[in-house]
Amino acid sequence: MPMKILVCISAVPDTTSKISLSSNNFVNMDGLTFITGPYEDYALSRAIEFKEANPESIEITIFHVGLEDAEPIIRKCLALGADSAVRVHTKANDSLQVANEIASYVKENSVDLILMGKESIDYNTGLVHLYTSNILGWNHYSPVMNLAIENDSCLLKVESSVGSVQLTSSLPLVLGCQEPIAEWKIPSMRGIMAARTKPILVREASAPNSFTYEKDAVNEQNRKGILFQRENLSELIDIIKKEVRS
């Protein structure tokens, strides 16, 4: 039996996106370029390195909660080397909802290792992997900076409040990943061709939304924008002194 890795990905606006509001008072998603969450890119890249080293013994499934407009992003993950994909057909609303969808899939299908980014870069909650591990009762680590697999165990380097901790923990595991776990990959022409025929299974949504947002606002930051010349450096030093004293 190959080892089954589920890589959960978010589809997020490109990191350089300018955020504006649409007429319904929510962030306007039209016209933004969507990408795979950068942290998920790291997670997927590491999974693909495992598969490249051992093609027969690793099976990678991409998991995404979102509507059909995310399919080009899922297709790109398949082009990078994942075997298949599952898309839960609903709008991702919150972390608990997404985690419940992941857990309900994992309860019906055999999965040994769940990888995702340490957080998505749109809502930055960093909660999906934690909720998933709690619902499934699996052990959990995040943010993981190094990952190796040895038989039924993972060798991890985890960044914690005290520093970086090297440890061994047995499967199954849920991991939130971050750099430098792997280098981002670029799909090859062969990979892109192969991805066209790889399956994307569409699943019906089963988890409810946890809460309802009322409206969004652009967070205007009014910075003072005061520029000093070199000869006035002492004034800037006085400002630093004042800031540090207060």
């Binding site: 970086s164 409206k215 969004d216 967070n219």
Partner: protein, 315 residues
């Protein structure tokens, strides 16, 4: 609401400046609506007694047994949740961090509550919290109302405005957590710097404008003079000039200090996503066109090798 469980940091016998925001919030809740609510404060710091704002019906626990690795196993989290009252009428509060988040989510699942993520400000209403949530790395805010029985994951820049008048000395009860048996730790590489970057009040950041890792002496000197933590841009940690733990930005640490001094950092949008919670931003760069100047409170166009030593000398 019958209980509040909150996670705070204690530095030198006092709550950290971030933790003060939590205590002010709890005081506000007690004053405005739930005078009888029982308060449980948890800290991972080792303390005997602490000067706390005057709250009624408060207990303080020091959790022992996680400080060597900064990680918690399921059993350890369970034992913390067991300390919380089994009454489900609870509100749980803590700042977002990889350690605290593990407890917040476990509490939410155990007590059937929702984690409200990235709370940057809130108002108290008689039956709900009116929440502002930071989204898109601080570029936007989302508004929602949630039940008082919620788990609040606070954004580093969270503030609850009020002024604490009285403080009282609070004794601390030590709680020994069970041993972490779910993993075998092979080595720990401790962070060298004393000031924890994510919680630092002052941060000095530097980028490729420093030209060589050996030039960080002056950055460290400036940081140590004002009691700041040191940070760096992504390119600098990518080429291993500085450790990854110092990388601040979209894919690194998000900081929210009182003062951020950026030296030789151009201000790419990915870096700004990590620092936009800073109260005051000072930018030092030799390129007048550096985008960072548009996001600065104070800027000076000049050579970092001239300006920074001059600041160090005169501060």
């Amino acid at each position: 609401m019958k209980n509040i469980a909150a996670f705070i940091d204690i530095k030198e016998g006092k709550p950290s400046s971030r933790s003060k925001q939590i205590l002010q919030l709890i005081q506000g809740i007690q004053q405005k609506m739930y005078a009888s609510v029982a308060i449980q404060l948890f800290t991972f710091d080792t303390v005997d007694k602490v000067d706390l704002p005057s709250l009624s019906n408060v207990k303080l626990y020091s959790l022992q047994g996680a400080s060597d690795t900064g990680l918690l196993s399921k059993e350890q989290i369970d034992s913390i949740l067991t300390l919380m009252s089994d009454d489900v009428s609870t509100c749980v509060i803590g700042y977002k961090s990889s350690l605290i988040d593990t407890i917040l989510t476990a509490a939410a699942i155990r007590f059937n509550l929702k984690v409200i993520p990235q709370v940057i400000s809130l108002e108290l209403t008689s039956d709900q919290f009116a929440i502002q949530q930071s989204i898109f790395s601080g570029k936007a805010l989302s508004y929602l109302h949630v039940s008082h029985l919620s788990v609040l994951q606070l954004n580093p820049a969270f503030e609850f405005a009020s002024s604490i008048v009285d403080t009282i000395e609070q004794h601390c009860e030590n709680i020994a957590l069970p041993a972490n048996t779910t993993c075998q730790v092979t080595s720990i590489n401790k962070i060298a710097q004393g000031a924890n970057l994510a919680e630092a009040n002052y941060v000095v950041g530097a980028g490729r404008g420093l030209k060589d890792p050996s030039n960080w002496n002056m950055i460290e000197e400036l940081a140590s003079k004002i009691g700041a933590a040191t940070a760096c841009s992504k390119p600098v940690s990518d080429i291993n000039w500085r450790p990854h733990s110092e990388h601040v930005g979209q894919t690194g640490i998000k900081i929210a200090p009182q003062l951020y001094i950026a030296c030789g950092i151009s201000g790419a949008i990915q870096h700004l996503a990590g620092i936009n919670g800073s109260k005051t931003i000072i930018v030092i760069n030799n390129d007048p066109e550096a985008p960072f100047f548009k996001y600065a409170d104070y800027g000076i166009v000049g050579d970092v090798f001239d300006i920074v030593p001059e600041i160090v000398k005169n501060i």
